[in-house]
Amino acid sequence: MSENSHPTPALYLVIVSCLFAGTVLTYFAATWEMGIFNPIVALTIACTKATLVILYFMHVRYSNKLTIVTVCAGFFWLLILISLSLSDYLTR
């Protein structure tokens, strides 16, 4: 991790603006009739916001490979937890 690998306050302002915009967007998306796409749109916006926080606020974009692998492993196991549990319940 090099010493000068920090995002600038200007970049943080851009990111926080995107997060605010995403929050407004997710509210209005929930009031539109989109059928099956309502939860998909809501989760897509949430995942985009989470990715922005992880990459920039949590500096993962500027981190060493060990950190990146660790973060990916966490979400990989979360995916196993959710997908294998739901595959059971949804196929009964």
Partner: protein, 269 residues
Amino acid sequence: MRRSPVSTSQTTTPATEHHPAWAHQFDSMEQQRDASSFGMWVFLLTEIMMFGGLFTAYLIYRIRYYDAFVAGSSSIDVKWGFYNTLVLIGSSFTMAMAVWAAHKGKRMQQVLYLVLTLVLGTVFLGVKAVEYKAKYDECHIPGGVIGKGFSATGAAGCSAEGNIAEDIEHPKNLAGKEVSGKPRAAAEQIARQTEIFFVFYFAMTGLHATHMIIGIGVLLWLLRRAWNSEFGPEYYTPVENFGLYWHFVDIVWIYLFPLLYLINRIPHK
């Protein structure tokens, strides 16, 4: 066996020449920082799995009792959740700025941003208390241990906003005009089933709020250390790692807001 000194300069180097935070088992400050960061991320993975278990259980029950989850979700005042999302994202921004200020060695800015993070975190918890109070008055606390017992069908002593069965039987459109709803028996059954939604609402927001309360405690400790100029460009690992924790708590809320408040907010026609 006693190790012989490599050079005379090493034997005479006073311990104070090191950075005081440099632990002897690390080759360099950078290695120490990377190890701390890795350790923090491993801790956050256990946190992901803890919340992950709750999210999985939530999904299973949401699929099974979808109508009740929609009814329960719509009974929460969405404006507070919306404001709180903005407040928490704002506190993540001020926390990121506090880490930046520590990295740049700007003591007063660091203290200022930590105070702002503390204030925004407290505002979040205050709003949460207002929301919990409304749910208490509406008799929507599940389990019957706290409050007047769970009721979503208009029991005596519960505020009228909590009568979910009424809202399902006689829904209103945006103009306030009544539109056709479900039969009374079906409405009452769905209303009773909202108890399982509120189990998840309180378990998930409660665990999240517990993290916020712990975070505020750690923030006070960091604030004291920042005030005493303990952090600078060479060493600010506690601020950085706490930042990771605070952003993680923010991410959990980013998912909780649409999953608990916005399941279906489509107005009736």
